[in-house]
Symmetry: C2
Subunit: 229 residues, 2 copies
DNA sequence: CGGAGTTTCGGAACATGTTCCTAAAGTAAG
DNA sequence: CTTACTTTAGGAACATGTTCCGAAACTCCG
């Protein structure tokens, strides 16, 4: 469109010089995050922190989702670097646990985890753990199809655990027991076990069973693969 | 607050008569949903459909989340009614599958699934399936603690699967392979298996492996419980 | 210097969910 | 009828993410 570019930037750059960089925006976002909290990280406030116009942000960052993915990437990267066991099964579990713990430490904006190709948009440390899960599954005798399925299944479980737990965190009771547990017009006589467990539900739902269930899941997946292979 | 209520509604009701009911709002929401699509279901449009003021909605419905939970409840209820197998393991799997399929059929507003105590806010059909999972686990020799853990783990996996798949649905490729799969500056030589699978990733990630992985998960969880008990 | 080209900046505007506060519309007593 | 009380209705306003489009600031070339 328009006239052809006659000189394709011979030496220096052309155009109005930028007053802000993506790195500065990310730094300011981290500053707001730890100073004012997650809920204060808005586009206008972020622009104000940098002394620039609000819409200027959108020339350096596609949208809010883009910003948050970058932030998560920066904040979670150190935690994602760890030594992986040589044993395949242990490697799968260690990698999945590392992904879980790293992302669970960033409890704001959990919906970002479910964006399309989220792990692919992360940096090499995260992909290294994906590689570890896939390679571990392959070393356990999985076919490539099964190995990818193992990763995806473990990823789904991890995402779900984080999302549900984060959303239940602020509240006084996760899955409120007693009065509030059942809806308004529910016949509790048809739910004998739930009724019997109602008083203990809050306590039981608060327990962290991620690691145990993860092992059970991995064993189940790898066992199936070995049996069919 | 003001003078005491002298007469506590002797015969009829008092105050300005309501022009709208919660049921009418839900009906209008469903109408908009199937006529104009999910993205058109906004507070103002919903009020317009009913010919009432926008803020009037908030006297009948706490907030958007409340509306969506009610809607999901209405729409998913028929699917949640099915006969459950007598065999405990099959019962757990059938119940989890039913929950999954019912909620996956309501692909809008997936973030509602992770709200605090979501299943508890649903009606009796959904709770019946929760009861089925817990009772199945108990019948397989689980302790109450383990049974609740089984339910929660399966629920996490189900939620994660739905959320990730829904977010990947609209895009051309789930977890884009090839060029876009890896980030900008990633050393692919350190990711041999991922690189080798890059071309097939899209196809493999699109496969529906929920049922198989669910069985593996349940077997892993129940097997662990039986071994420890 | 001056116009052309190019890149960045940012104010105005829009649609969204939600809250505040006041008016409206009814019943019950005096 | 008038006054008190109660309940619902809804306009105005606010903060949010985001886009449109024109202005600003710089380089290059003649």
């Amino acid at each position: 469109m328009g006239p052809m570019t006659r000189s394709e930037a011979p030496n220096g750059r052309t155009g109005r010089p930028p007053v802000t960089s993506r790195a500065q925006i990310l730094a300011a976002a981290r500053r707001i995050l730890e100073r004012d909290g997650w809920e204060k990280l808005t586009a206008r406030r972020l622009a104000g922190e940098l002394g620039i116009g609000t819409t200027t942000l959108y020339h350096h960052i596609r949208d809010r989702e883009d910003l948050l993915v970058q932030l998560i990437n920066e904040l979670a990267e150190p935690t994602l670097r760890l030594d992986l066991p040589a044993d395949p099964r242990e490697r799968v579990i260690a990698a999945a646990t590392s992904i879980h713990d790293s992302l669970a430490a960033v409890p704001w904006a959990p919906e970002i985890l479910t964006t399309d190709g989220f792990l692919g948009r992360l940096g090499e440390p995260a992909l290294r753990l994906v590689e570890a899960i896939v390679s571990g599954a392959l070393d356990c005798g999985c076919t490539p199809e099964q190995a990818v399925a193992v990763f995806r299944s473990v990823w789904y479980y991890t995402v779900g655990e984080i999302l549900v737990r984060v959303h239940s965190a602020g509240r006084p009771a996760a899955q409120p027991p007693g009065d509030g547990f059942f809806g308004p017009d529910v016949d509790t006589s048809r739910l004998p076990h739930l009724s019997a467990l109602a008083e203990r539900w809050e306590e039981l739902a608060a327990r962290d069973t991620f690691a145990e269930a993860l092992e059970a899941f991995v064993d189940g997946l790898l066992g199936r693969a070995a049996r069919s292979g």
